[in-house]
C-alpha cells in the first residue's frame, strides 16, 4: 500500500479523503493556496505544501505546481477529489510520466467520457440507452414530422446554435412538429444567423438518477445502486438520496448493468458515476459519465457500507475488488443536503465572510439512524470568494425514507451557522415539502415550487403551537432568573405569573404554564395542553426541547423585548408577554416597513468609493449609481429601473451597513 498520498483538492472533499487515508494508515499531504492557510484540510493533513495565490487557476489547477508539490512531498499517489484536476487527462498523464499513482480512472477513460459526442457514441455502441434523436440536419417541415414520428412524441425541436431557450419548441403531435420546426427555424435564423435544426426525444417529468460504479484493473466492475439528484437549482444539485424513491428493482438492475457495460467499454477503473435522465414511465437515457468521485457519494456509502475512497485507493494500488455484485446490498435510506454559503432570501446570492458560529449537529452512528457531516470549515474560519460556496454535506441514514427525512429535519435544526448567509432554511423547507416527502419530484422541482425564489417558511398550526408553548416555557425561565438579581427588596419580590400571551407569525396564543421539576405543561385557551421539557437555560442559542413527546429544536436569538426563533426553515420573532402587557402591546401601531423599491440599499457592509449621480438626475436602468468597496472588491451598484434621484444619503468615504439606504428615487 502507498505510504503517502497527496490530495490535490481543498474543502470538505480533501478532509473526507484524509479521513479514509488516515484510517488506512496512509500519510496525507495537503496543498493550499494563500486563501487556505488556515483551512481545515491543511490542519488535518500530516504535511502541507503551499501552491500559490488564491485563484484556483493560479494554484489548485496548475498542473506544474501540483506536480512540484508531489515531488517535494514524496507522495506516491494523488487523490484529485472532484472538480479542479479530477477529470483532467493531462494531469493523469503527467502523473503517469512521473510514476505517481492517480486515484482515478485511466486517462483514456477520462478523455472519451469528457466529450459529450464521443461519450454518447460509445454509449450507443455499448447498448446503453441514449436519448433518441436525429443529429443530422433537417431539410423541411415534412422531414421534421417524419423524424418526430420515428422518435415518438413528445419531441424537442432545437436550434443547433441555440441557447437560453431560444429556438426551442416542444411538440406533442405532427401539427405541433410542423409549426415548431418552422418557428424554431425562423427564430434561429434571426437570433443566431444559423437556422440548422435538430430533433430529439423530449423527456417528460425528468428525474436525474445516477449509478455508482466501481471497477478495478482486473476486469471487475460492479454497481452500487443509484442516487437520485433531481432536486437541483440551475443544474446545481442541492438534495440527493439513495436509493431513488422512484426506481423498481428491474429498472435499477437494467441501469446498473448498462452503467457497467459502459465502464467496461472504456476500460474504466476506480469509482465513477453514470448519469441518466429518467422519464415518468421509467424510461432512462444516458446523459454523461463522471470519471471521478461525486460530491454526493456519501449517500451510496451509507446504504452500501462501502467506503468509496478506500476502494478507489485500493484500486489505484492495483488490488482487485474484494466485493462482488452479489455482495452489494442496499440497506435503508440515505439523504444528503448540501449546505451552501448562499443566501436564499437574496436569490441565493453567494455569501462570503467569517463563520462567527459553526456548530454542526453531532455525528451519530446508531441502528436507528446515522448523522454524518462532511465539512471543510470550522467556527472562526473564513468563506472566501475564490472557491465553491458549498461548506458542508449533511447526510442522514435510517432504515426507511421517512425516518431518514425526519432525522434530517432534526439535524438541520441543530445545525448552527452564523456570520454568513446560507441555505439551511431552504433545505428545511424542502425536507417538509409534500412533493419531496412523497418522492414525487422532477429536475424542475425548485423552479416549479419556488418560482419567485424562497421567501421563508410559514409554520402550520400544530407546529406553531409547539413553538409557542416552548417559547412561553423559555420566557418563564428567563423571567424567573431576572427576579433573582441582587439588591431586591426583601419580602417584596416580583412574582412571575402563570398566564402568558405568545405572539408569533402574526398569531397570538393565550397560555397558562404549570411548571414542575421535570418540565412545564402549557395549556392553551381551548384547554389543549402541550408538555414541554428540555434543559434550556437563558442564553443558550440552541434549545433542544421535547414538546408533546417529539423533539423540537429551536435556534434561539435575541430581538428587542423578545426571542428570534428559527426552526424548520421558519425565522420568527416571538414575544411572550403577560396578559396586561399583551393588552397594551395590542394598542401599539403596526409600523409598515418603508417601501424599499424606491431606494438603493447597500447590499453588503462596505465603504462608499464614489457616488456617480446627483440629486435630480434621471437615471436609466442599468446605470451605475454608486461604487461600494467591500472585502477589497469594488462593487458597482446599478439602477434597477428608470427614475429620478431625490435624495442621497451617503458620500464617498462613508462606511455602510447592509441595507442602509444609499439613495432614494422619485
Amino acid at each position: 500500500m502507498f505510504k503517502k498520498i497527496l490530495i490535490a483538492n481543498r474543502g470538505e472533499i480533501a478532509c473526507r479523503v484524509i479521513k479514509t487515508a488516515r484510517k488506512m494508515g496512509i500519510a496525507t499531504v495537503a496543498i493550499y493556496s494563500d486563501a487556505d492557510r488556515q483551512a481545515l484540510h491543511v490542519k488535518l493533513a500530516d504535511e502541507k505544501v503551499h501552491i500559490g495565490p488564491p485563484p484556483a487557476n493560479q494554484s489548485y489547477i496548475v498542473i506544474d505546481k501540483v506536480m512540484q508539490a508531489i515531488k517535494d512531498s514524496g507522495a506516491e499517489a494523488v487523490h484529485p477529489g472532484y472538480g479542479f484536476l479530477s477529470e483532467n487527462a493531462k494531469f493523469a498523464e503527467a502523473l503517469e510520466v512521473a510514476g505517481v499513482a492517480f486515484v482515478g480512472p485511466p486517462k483514456g477513460a477520462i478523455e472519451s467520457m469528457g466529450d459529450k459526442i464521443t461519450s454518447k457514441k460509445i454509449a450507443q455502441e455499448a447498448n446503453v440507452s441514449t436519448v433518441p434523436g436525429y443529429m443530422g440536419l433537417i431539410e423541411d417541415a415534412d422531414e421534421a414530422v417524419k423524424i418526430s414520428t420515428e422518435i415518438g412524441y413528445p419531441v424537442m425541436i432545437k436550434a443547433s446554435a441555440g441557447g437560453g431557450g431560444k429556438g426551442m419548441r416542444i411538440a406533442w403531435n405532427d401539427e405541433e412538429a410542423r409549426e415548431g420546426f418552422q418557428s424554431s427555424k425562423n427564430e434561429a435564423a434571426s437570433s443566431f444567423g444559423d437556422d440548422r435544426i435538430f430533433i430529439e426525444k423530449f423527456v417528460t417529468q425528468p428525474r436525474h438518477i445516477e449509478i455508482q460504479v466501481l471497477a478495478d484493473s482486473h476486469g471487475n466492475c460492479i454497481y452500487l445502486g443509484e442516487r437520485e439528484c433531481s432536486i437541483q437549482r440551475r443544474n446545481q444539485k442541492v438534495v440527493e438520496e439513495a436509493p431513488s424513491p422512484f426506481l423498481d428493482e428491474a429498472t435499477r438492475k437494467a441501469m446498473g448493468e448498462q452503467a457497467c457495460a459502459l465502464a467496461k467499454a472504456v476500460g474504466y477503473t476506480s469509482a465513477g458515476t453514470v448519469e441518466f435522465i429518467v422519464d415518468g414511465e421509467k424510461n432512462f437515457f444516458f446523459l454523461e459519465m463522471n470519471t471521478r468521485l461525486q460530491v454526493e457519494h456519501p449517500v451510496t456509502e451509507l446504504i452500501t457500507g462501502v467506503d468509496l475512497v478506500e476502494q478507489m485507493i485500493r484500486v489505484a494500488n492495483g488490488e482487485a475488488l474484494s466485493i462482488t455484485q452479489d455482495d452489494v446490498k442496499l440497506n435503508g435510506w440515505a439523504i444528503e443536503n448540501r449546505l451552501y454559503a448562499e443566501d436564499p432570501y437574496r436569490n441565493f446570492l453567494p455569501s462570503i465572510g467569517r463563520l462567527t458560529r459553526y456548530r454542526p449537529p453531532e455525528e451519530v452512528v446508531a441502528a436507528s439512524h446515522v448523522v454524518r457531516n462532511d465539512t471543510g470549515v470550522y467556527e472562526g474560519g473564513e468563506i472566501s470568494m475564490y472557491y465553491d460556496p458549498m461548506i458542508a454535506k449533511l447526510c442522514t441514514w435510517a432504515p426507511t425514507r421517512g425516518a431518514a427525512i425526519e432525522a434530517m429535519r432534526v439535524a438541520l435544526d441543530r445545525f448552527e451557522v452564523e456570520g454568513i448567509g446560507h441555505n439551511l432554511p431552504f433545505l428545511a423547507a424542502v425536507m417538509d415539502h409534500s412533493k419531496f416527502v412523497s418522492g414525487d419530484m422532477t429536475t424542475a422541482f425548485i423552479a416549479e415550487e419556488y418560482p419567485d425564489g424562497f421567501e421563508g417558511v410559514t409554520l402550520a398550526g400544530a407546529d406553531l403551537r409547539k413553538v409557542a408553548a416552548a417559547c412561553a416555557a423559555m420566557h418563564r425561565v428567563s423571567e424567573i432568573r431576572r427576579t433573582r438579581v441582587s439588591g431586591r427588596m426583601d419580602n417584596h419580590e416580583r412574582k412571575v405569573g402563570q398566564d402568558w400571551h405568545v405572539s408569533l407569525q402574526g398569531q397570538a396564543f393565550a397560555v397558562k404554564i404549570d411548571a414542575d421539576p421535570e418540565g412545564s405543561t402549557v395549556t392553551f385557551e381551548d384547554q389543549t395542553a402541550l408538555r414541554v421539557s428540555g434543559d434550556w437555560t437563558p442564553g443558550d442559542q440552541l434549545a433542544d426541547m421535547t414538546v408533546d413527546g417529539a423533539p423540537l429544536v429551536l435556534k434561539v436569538g435575541k430581538v428587542t423585548a423578545g426571542f428570534r426563533v428559527r426552526t424548520r426553515g421558519a425565522d420568527l420573532k416571538v414575544h411572550v408577554r403577560s396578559p396586561r402587557q399583551a393588552e397594551l402591546a395590542a394598542k401599539m401601531p403596526e409600523k409598515v416597513p418603508p417601501d424599499t423599491s424606491k431606494m438603493l440599499l447597500c447590499p453588503m457592509p462596505g465603504l462608499v468609493v464614489k457616488v456617480d449621480v446627483g440629486v435630480g438626475d434621471e437615471v436609466q436602468e442599468g446605470q451605475a449609481l454608486c461604487t461600494i468597496e467591500a472585502m477589497k472588491m469594488e462593487n458597482i451598484l446599478r439602477a434597477e429601473r428608470k427614475g429620478v434621484v431625490t435624495k442621497i444619503n451617503a458620500g464617498a468615504g462613508d462606511s455602510l451597513a447592509v441595507d442602509e439606504v444609499i439613495m432614494e428615487f422619485e
Binding site: 432568573r481 428587542t560 457592509p605 477589497k632
Partner: protein
C-alpha cells in the same frame, strides 16, 4: 365614614382617568400609552405606590381656577423592577397636555429627593407640551427646581429619561442631565426650539421628526442613547437596562445567577484578527463571545460607530465595555467617539461598574474638521475619564495600539489594573510605514531600503513584546481564553480600593 370612603373612591377614579376617556382614546390613537399604562409596564405588576394623586395646581389666572385636574398632569411614586426599588414619574399628556406647573414640578421634586435619600434610581417618562404658560414664572421656577435636583442626584443614583412624546424648550434640559435618554421612534421628539421658530429665525424648513426625532438624536446629535419602535418595547428595554445598574453610588452593581461557564473557551477568537493588518473585523463578535450568555446592552449604538460602548455581565456581574470598532473608520478615535466613550466611562466610574476596554486603534483622526472641532479637548475627555476612573479596569489590546490613542485607551499609564494583549497586538507610536518614512527620511527615494526599514520597524514594534518588556502589558494572552482571563481579572479586583487626592471636583475639559 362611608361617605369618606365613597369620596376617596370617587376621587381615585377621577384621578386615574386623567384627562378623561376622550383624551385617553386620542393618546392611544397616536400610538401612545397613557402615563399610568406606562408606569404599569415599567414596574413589576402590582408594585406601584403612588404619591400625590390628588395634588392640584394653585393657579387662578386665565380661567385656570376652573380646571383643577387631580394629579396635575404627572403620575409619581415608586415601585420595583424585578424586585429592586426605583422611583418614577410619568407625565400625563391627557391632563393639560402634560404641561409643567409649579405643583407638577413639586411632585417630581418630591420623588427625586426621596430617591437620593433612599438610594434608588429615578426613571422619568416625558410626554409634555412644555411649561404651563398660564403660570408664567412659577412654571419656570418648577423646571429650575427639577434641574437642580437632576444635578444633585447625578452620580448619586442612576437617572433615566424616556421620551415618549414632545419634550421641547427648557424641558429638554432635565433629560439632558440624566444618565440615559431613550426615545420612541415616530412619536417622540426633543428640541430647544421647534420647527416654527426655526423657520422664523433661520428660514430653515424642517419637520419635527427631522429636527428632533429619535433618528436625529440617536444618529446625529447623540442626545439619545437608544430608540425603540414603540412604548411597550421601550419600557421593556428600560427594565432590561435597570437590571444592569446599581441602585445608587454606595451599592455594588447587581449580580444575578448566570448559566455560562466563566472559563468558556472560544477557539474561533484565535482567527478573529485577520492576517492582513488593514482588513477590518467586527469587534462586537469579541464582546458577544466574552459576555455571559452573549448578552450585550449597547449604549449609543447608532452614533460614532467607530467606538462601541455598553454593558455586559461577567460571572453575573455588570461590566461596562468600551471597544474600538475596526469595522468603522478603522476604529479611529475622533471627536464623536471620544465624547461618547468618555461619558460612558464616567457613568461606570460614578456607579462602581468595572470597565473592560478592548483596543484596536490606529490613532486619532487627522484633518481640519477635527482640529477646528476641538479634537484636542474632546480627545482629552476620554483620556481624563479613564485616568480619573478608580473602578477596576481591564484592558485587552487585540491589534493596533498606536500613538496617543494607545495611552488614552485605558493603558497601564492611566492606572488600568490588568493590561492584556493578544499575540497580534502592535503597541507602537505609529504604523511601521509611517514611522519609517519619518525615521529614514533620507532613504525615501529608495523603495528597497524603505521596505527593509519598514520590515525592521515591524519586527521591532509590530508585536506586544516591547511593551511587555516594560511591564506596560501584564501578559500576552491567547484570544481563545480571553473570557476566562478577563473574568478572573475582574474577580481578583472585587475589593479594589483607590483614593484620588481630595478635591472639590475635577475640571474635566468640557
Amino acid at each position: 365614614m362611608k361617605d369618606i370612603l365613597n369620596e376617596l373612591e370617587g376621587r381615585r377614579s377621577a384621578a386615574r382617568l386623567g384627562g378623561g376617556q376622550k383624551r385617553i382614546d386620542s393618546q392611544h390613537g397616536r400610538g401612545k400609552l397613557t402615563a399610568r399604562e406606562r408606569v404599569e409596564l415599567l414596574l413589576d405588576a402590582g408594585s406601584f405606590e403612588e404619591f400625590d394623586m390628588f395634588v392640584t395646581h394653585r393657579c387662578t389666572e386665565f380661567g385656570m381656577e376652573n380646571q383643577k385636574p387631580a394629579g396635575d398632569g404627572v403620575v409619581t411614586g415608586w415601585g420595583t423592577i424585578n424586585g429592586r426599588m426605583v422611583y418614577v414619574f410619568s407625565q400625563d399628556f391627557t391632563v393639560l397636555g402634560g404641561s409643567v406647573s409649579e405643583t407638577h414640578a413639586k411632585k417630581i421634586c418630591k420623588i427625586m429627593d426621596m430617591a437620593v435619600e433612599n438610594g434608588a434610581p429615578v426613571i422619568g417618562i416625558n410626554d409634555s407640551g412644555g411649561a404651563r404658560i398660564q403660570e408664567g414664572v412659577d412654571s419656570l421656577a418648577g423646571y429650575g427646581e427639577v434641574f437642580q435636583r437632576n444635578i444633585q442626584a447625578s452620580g448619586v443614583v442612576p437617572q433615566i429619561s424616556v421620551i415618549m412624546g414632545p419634550c421641547a424648550g427648557g424641558a429638554v434640559y432635565s433629560p439632558a442631565m440624566t444618565d440615559f435618554i431613550f426615545m420612541v421612534k415616530d412619536s417622540s421628539y426633543m428640541f430647544v426650539t421647534g420647527p416654527d421658530v426655526v423657520k422664523t429665525v433661520t428660514n430653515e424648513h424642517v419637520t419635527a421628526e427631522e429636527l428632533g426625532g429619535a433618528g436625529t438624536h440617536t444618529k446625529k446629535s447623540s442626545v439619545a442613547d437608544a430608540a425603540f419602535e414603540n412604548d411597550v418595547e421601550a419600557l421593556a428595554e428600560v427594565r432590561r437596562l435597570v437590571d444592569f445598574l446599581p441602585l445608587n453610588n454606595r451599592a455594588k452593581p447587581p449580580k444575578r445567577p448566570f448559566f455560562d461557564d466563566p472559563a468558556r473557551i472560544e477557539t474561533s477568537l484565535d482567527t478573529l484578527v485577520p492576517d492582513n493588518p488593514n482588513q477590518p473585523y467586527d469587534m462586537k463578535e469579541l464582546i458577544l463571545k466574552i459576555a455571559d450568555e452573549g448578552d450585550f446592552y449597547e449604549i449609543q449604538e447608532d452614533f460614532a460607530k467607530n467606538i462601541i460602548s455598553g454593558f455586559i455581565r461577567l460571572e453575573g456581574q455588570t461590566v461596562g465595555v468600551v471597544a474600538n470598532q475596526p469595522m468603522v473608520l478603522a476604529g479611529v478615535l475622533d471627536i464623536d467617539s471620544a465624547r461618547k466613550a468618555a461619558r460612558f466611562v464616567r457613568f461606570c466610574d460614578c456607579f462602581d461598574i468595572p470597565i473592560l476596554t478592548m483596543v484596536d486603534v490606529p490613532g486619532f483622526l487627522p484633518g481640519t474638521s477635527q482640529e477646528y472641532g476641538g479634537v484636542i479637548k474632546h480627545g482629552a475627555k476620554l483620556l481624563f475619564a479613564y485616568g480619573e476612573a478608580t473602578v477596576p479596569k481591564v484592558t485587552v489590546i487585540t491589534r493596533k495600539a498606536y500613538g496617543g490613542a494607545y495611552v488614552v485607551m485605558a493603558s497601564k499609564h492611566l492606572r488600568a489594573d490588568f493590561n492584556y494583549a493578544w499575540p497580534t497586538a502592535e503597541v507602537a507610536v505609529m504604523g511601521a510605514k509611517g514611522a519609517t518614512e519619518i525615521i529614514h527620511r533620507a532613504d525615501l527615494d529608495d523603495p528597497k531600503k524603505i521596505a527593509q526599514h519598514t520590515k525592521d520597524y515591524e519586527d521591532r514594534f509590530a508585536n506586544p513584546f516591547v511593551a511587555s518588556e516594560r511591564g506596560f502589558i501584564d501578559e500576552v494572552i491567547m484570544p481563545h481564553s480571553t473570557r476566562k482571563r478577563v473574568a478572573r481579572a475582574f474577580a481578583s479586583l472585587r475589593n479594589k480600593q483607590t483614593q484620588m487626592p481630595w478635591k472639590k471636583h475635577d475640571n474635566i475639559p468640557l
